[in-house]
């Protein structure tokens, strides 16, 4: 089932036709992606997992009557983000009632990855978001524009700015040398 050969649209059609395995296949195919997206907006893995699951529970209820006109990930992105931000808000609220604590920085045995993560964290949120959507999620600029509800030119300028910032970061220059 994880390697179901059907396309997302075919799986959605199968859900609509009553195929009980189709939604599972759809979920298993995309839950890691949904987690990745949610994790970008939350501070905890568990919260990101919750957001990803809530997004698919939302889709499960919609699937029988939904016909997509865009890629499933494009359609779902705002939903995942919405649930992730809701998770973050609930964490922020809980944190406000707790004494502040210093969150441990991420640890990567690979120094280059650690530097990259640090540089990524310094990018403005909109730039980081667009960069990851293209580089990691493999979304086209058009899909990013649709998912974020922003003009195409804005998508390109955000990614441009993100790439330029990383390029100007001394230790990361190696990524841009052939």
């Amino acid at each position: 089932m994880p390697n179901d050969p059907r396309t997302d649209q075919e799986l959605l059609d199968a859900v609509r036709a009553g195929d009980p395995t189709a939604f599972e296949a759809l979920y298993l195919r995309h839950r890691d992606w949904a987690f990745r997206v949610a994790r970008r907006f939350t501070s905890e893995d568990a919260r990101a997992m919750d957001a990803a699951q809530e997004s698919f529970l939302f889709l499960l209820k919609r699937a029988p009557t939904l016909r997509l006109t865009a890629r499933l990930t494009t359609f779902l992105y705002p939903t995942v983000k919405h649930h992730a931000l809701a998770q973050r808000r609930s964490v922020d609220q809980a944190d406000a009632d707790r004494p502040a604590e210093v969150r441990a920085p991420p640890i990567h045995t690979d120094e280059r990855l650690a530097l990259l993560e640090s540089a990524l964290a310094r990018l403005p949120d909109p730039q980081r978001e667009a960069l990851l959507m293209q580089a990691v999620d493999g979304m086209t600029h058009g899909e990013i524009a649709l998912a974020l509800s922003i003009p195409l030119g804005t998508v390109k300028s955000r990614i441009h700015a993100a790439v330029n910032t990383l390029r100007s970061d001394g230790p990361l220059r190696g990524y841009f040398e052939d």
Binding site: F35, L116, A135, Y175
Partner: protein, 139 residues
Amino acid sequence: MHDDPHIPDRLARDLGRLESPPAWPADDPVLVAARRLRGRTRRPLRVAGWSAGLAAAAGLAISTIVWFHPVRQGPAGTPALASGPASPATMLDAYRLTLILDRRETPATTWDADGNGAIDRADVDTLAARAVSLGEASS
């Protein structure tokens, strides 16, 4: 205004490595919900099996009467149904042809919407597609 920004492959790969997937629980609530839905969709069949003996006589008799009731209620053989689709076709035409085919009546040749000499469900689809076509519909 902007050239397409280029992200080096190695950078993209490392960005992906920063985001490792989690260990999903075996009792993942989405899978549980999906499987519960699967059980729900099967339930009528299980009920059907359980009550088959009891339902056989009454169910068959009543369902036969009710199932065909709406069709008999319709104006079978009226000019509207027999003459053929309107021009431009509407969804009403697709529905009317469906009624004719369901009743196993012989449709007029004017219902051969796809022009292949046979009048069948494909003509229903053709009429429905024409009905919602932006090219043919009145604006």
